[in-house]
Amino acid sequence: MLDKSAYWRANLRLMAVLLAIWFTVSFGFGILLVEPLNAIRFGGFKLGFWIAQQGAIYLFVILIFVYAALMRRIDRQHGVADD
C-alpha cells in the first residue's frame, strides 16, 4: 500500500527547496542585489551582471535536471515510478 500523502509531502519539500534557490539567484542576486554584487569582480565580469545575463540561465538548467533526478528516486522509494 503506497502512502500518497508521504510521497506528496516529499515532492513539495523538494520543490520548495529548488524554487527557493531559483528565486534567490534570479530575482535576489540578478535583480535586487545586483548593485552590491557588481562591486565583486569575476574574471572580466562584474559578478551581479554575470549572474543576471549568464549564471542564472546555467543554474535554471541544472535545477531542472536535479529535480528530474531526485524525483525519480523519490518515485521509486514510494513505489509510484512510471517505468
Binding site: 534570479s26 535583480i31 557588481n38 572580466g44 545575463q53 538548467v61 531542472i64 512510471d82
Partner: protein
C-alpha cells in the same frame, strides 16, 4: 557564389529537408496529429520545444535589443528561460499524467465546466494569433533582405511551406521538422557569434569572450571597454540599467510565468512517453535554449562595440558597404548635423520617428531625409532589429555565413509558426467543435476538421503577416501578459489546490484577464502619451503588468472559491491521480 545565390541555395536545401521529413512522418490519426502519438524521445522533444519556443524575435531581435539595453536586457534573458523551471516543477509532469490532448481539455475536466474550457480556448486563440502574426512578418523580412523578393511573396512562400508540413504531418510532422530546424537555427546563430568573438577577443567561445580582454591592446575586458566607451559618449554604463528595480522585477516575473502558461509550449510535454520524461524533457529543452540565450548577450555586447568602432567619428565616405545597404532598406539613416562629413554617435534620437527619405542623395552619397533633426548630438538612426542580421556583414564574414543566417532566421520563424498553428487548429477541431459544440465526429472526421482548421489559421496568419496591424511589437506584451494572468494561475491551482472549484477559477481568470487587457490597452493604444513611469501603477510598465494580473487572479480565485461548494468527488480523484506518476496512459485515439 555571391551571398544572394548562396542564400537561395541554403534556404532551398533547408526547405526541402523540412518537407521531406513531413512526408516521411505524416500523421494518420488524431492521436498522431495532436500529440505525435505520445511517444517522442525526451531529448528530441527538448530540441523541438526549443525550436518551437525560440521565435523570429529570439533569433533576429533579441541580441540587438540587449546591445542597446545593456543590463536591462536581463529581463528577456532571465524572463524567457526561468519560466522553464516553473514549467518543469509545477506544470509539465502533472499535465502529462493528466493524459489528454489539449490545454483546454485540462480546464474542462478539472473545473468540470464548459465555460472554463471556453475561456481557456479564447485565451489560447488570442495568445497564439498575436504571436503567429509576428512570425509570418519575420519570414517576410528575411525573404526581402536576403533573397531580394518582396515581403508579400516571402510570406506566401513561408505559408506554403508551413502548410505542407503542418497540415500533412500534424504534431508528429512538426516535432521532427522542429528537431531539424533547431539544428539549422543553432548552427546559424553560433557560427557568426564565434567569428565575431574571435574578431574582438581571440576567444572562440562567445560566453567566455564576453568576459575576456579586447584584443586592441587596451588591456580592458569587453564589458569594461563598453562601459568606458559608452560613458565617454554620454550614455549610461552598459552593465548598469536605467529601468527601476521594481519594473525589472515585474517584467522578468511576467515573462517567466507567461512562458510557463503559453499553450504551444505546454502542449509539447503531452508528446513524451511518461511523467519522468516530461520532467527531463523540460531540462533538455532549456539546455538547448540556453545555448542560444547565453550566446545572445555576448553577441549583443560585441556588436554594440563593433558598431561604435566602425561608425563613430568615421567620415561617411569611408564607412563599409553594410551601412549603405541597410540605409537602402531604411533601417539605418544618417543626418550630418555638424556638417563635418563624419558620423557622430551619441545618446538620444537623431530625429523624431522613422526616417522619411527624400529620394535624393547628399553630397557624401547618403540618403537625404526630411525629418527635422533633434537637438541631440546623435546623427545615426539605427533599427535595433538589424544587429544579428547585419553582424556577419559588419564583421566582414564570408558570404556563406550570411546565407546561413538567412536559413537560420527562417527556421526560427517557421518552427514557432507551425507550433502555434497546431495549437490553434487543435483547439478549434477538438475543443470547440467536438467538446464544446458536441459534434459527433469519428476520428477520421475530427482529423479532417483539424487539417481544415490548420489551413484556415495559416491563411489568417499570412494575411496578418502581409498586413500587420501596425503594433506587432506592442502586442507581444499582450501574449505574455494574457498567459501570465489567465492560464498559468488556473492550471497551477488546479494541480496544487484541491479545494479550488470552477466558480473560483473562472472568476480569477476573467478578472486577471480583464485587468491585464485594460491596463496594456490603456497605455499602448488608448493613451500612449501617458506611457511613462510616473503614470504606471506601482511603477510597473505594461510589459510587467501580467505579474499583477496573476496575483489578482490567485487572490480573486481563492476568495470566490470559499463561497461555493467544493469540487465533486470525481475531480478530487482526478487531482489525486495526476499527482502520482505511475499508471501513465498514452493519449487514446477516440473511437
Amino acid at each position: 557564389m555571391d551571398a544572394t545565390s548562396l542564400s537561395y541555395l541554403f534556404v532551398g536545401l533547408s526547405f526541402a529537408l523540412y518537407i521531406g521529413i513531413a512526408i516521411w512522418t505524416r500523421a494518420g490519426s488524431t492521436n498522431e496529429f495532436y500529440v505525435a502519438g505520445g511517444g517522442v524521445h525526451p531529448i528530441a522533444n527538448g530540441m523541438a520545444t526549443a525550436a518551437d519556443w525560440m521565435s523570429a524575435a529570439s533569433f533576429m531581435s533579441m541580441a540587438g535589443i540587449i546591445a542597446f539595453m545593456g543590463y536591462d536586457g536581463t529581463v528577456y534573458l532571465m524572463g524567457w528561460t526561468g519560466g522553464y523551471v516553473l514549467l518543469a516543477l509545477l506544470l509539465a509532469p502533472y499535465l502529462r499524467k493528466f493524459g489528454e490532448f489539449t490545454v483546454p481539455d485540462f480546464f474542462g475536466s478539472r473545473y468540470y465546466s464548459k465555460s472554463a474550457r471556453t475561456v481557456a480556448v479564447v485565451c489560447l486563440i488570442l495568445i497564439s494569433f498575436t504571436y503567429v502574426a509576428g512570425q509570418m512578418r519575420g519570414v517576410g523580412i528575411v525573404f526581402s533582405n536576403f533573397l531580394g523578393v518582396d515581403i508579400t511573396t516571402g510570406v506566401i512562400v513561408g505559408m506554403a511551406v508551413v502548410f505542407i508540413y503542418a497540415v500533412l504531418g500534424g504534431m508528429k510532422g512538426i516535432t521532427y521538422t522542429q528537431v531539424a530546424q533547431y539544428v539549422v537555427m543553432i548552427f546559424a546563430y553560433l557560427v557568426p557569434a564565434i567569428f565575431i568573438s574571435l574578431l574582438i577577443t581571440d576567444n572562440p567561445i562567445p560566453q567566455l569572450g564576453l568576459g575576456d580582454t579586447v584584443n586592441d591592446g587596451s588591456g580592458q575586458s569587453v564589458l569594461d571597454k563598453l562601459d568606458t566607451t559608452l560613458l565617454g559618449l554620454g550614455f549610461g554604463a552598459y552593465t548598469e540599467g536605467t529601468k527601476d528595480t521594481i519594473d525589472v522585477f515585474a517584467i522578468t516575473m511576467a515573462l517567466m510565468i507567461g512562458t510557463a502558461g503559453l499553450p504551444h509550449v505546454i502542449v509539447r510535454f503531452f508528446t513524451v512517453p511518461n511523467v519522468s520524461d516530461a520532467r527531463s524533457s523540460a531540462g533538455w529543452a532549456l539546455l538547448f535554449i540556453a545555448l542560444l540565450y547565453t550566446t545572445a548577450p555576448a553577441v549583443g555586447a560585441f556588436s554594440r562595440l563593433n558598431f561604435i568602432n566602425t561608425v563613430h567619428d568615421q567620415p561617411y565616405v569611408y564607412i563599409d558597404d553594410w551601412f549603405k545597404r541597410w540605409e537602402d532598406v531604411g533601417l539605418i539613416a544618417w543626418v550630418d548635423k555638424n556638417a563635418d562629413g563624419a558620423v557622430q554617435y551619441a545618446p538620444g534620437v537623431p530625429f523624431a520617428g522613422k526616417p522619411e527619405f527624400t529620394g535624393e542623395l547628399t553630397d557624401e552619397g547618403a540618403r537625404a531625409i526630411t525629418n527635422p533633426p533633434s537637438d541631440t548630438r546623435n546623427e545615426v538612426y539605427v533599427d535595433r532589429d538589424i544587429m544579428v542580421l547585419a553582424n556577419p556583414e559588419i564583421a566582414a564574414l564570408p558570404a556563406w555565413v550570411i546565407a546561413l543566417v538567412a536559413a537560420g532566421a527562417l527556421a526560427a520563424a517557421l518552427s514557432t509558426a507551425a507550433g502555434l498553428l497546431l495549437v490553434i487548429s487543435t483547439s478549434i477541431s477538438h475543443d470547440l467543435l467536438k467538446k464544446t459544440l458536441e459534434w459527433e465526429l469519428t476520428d477520421k472526421q475530427e482529423l479532417r476538421y483539424a487539417r481544415i482548421a490548420a489551413a484556415t489559421a495559416i491563411v489568417v496568419a499570412g494575411y496578418l503577416g502581409i498586413n500587420p496591424p501596425g503594433f506587432v511589437a506592442e502586442v507581444v506584451a499582450f501574449a505574455f501578459g494574457l498567459a501570465a494572468a489567465s492560464l498559468f494561475p488556473a492550471i497551477l491551482m488546479g494541480i496544487f489546490y484541491q479545494r479550488m472549484n470552477r466558480e473560483g477559477a473562472i472568476a480569477g481568470m476573467v478578472i486577471g484577464l480583464i485587468f491585464t487587457v485594460v491596463y496594456i490597452s490603456w497605455f499602448k493604444f488608448i493613451d500612449p502619451a501617458s506611457n511613462t513611469a510616473e503614470h504606471w501603477w506601482f511603477g510597473i510598465s505594461p510589459e510587467g503588468i501580467g505579474t499583477v494580473g496573476a496575483l489578482l487572479n490567485f487572490g480573486v480565485a481563492c476568495l470566490v472559491a470559499r463561497f461555493f461548494p467544493a469540487p465533486p468527488e470525481s475531480v478530487r480523484q482526478l487531482v489525486e491521480r495526476i499527482r502520482i506518476p505511475s499508471g501513465v496512459e498514452r493519449p487514446h485515439d477516440h473511437p
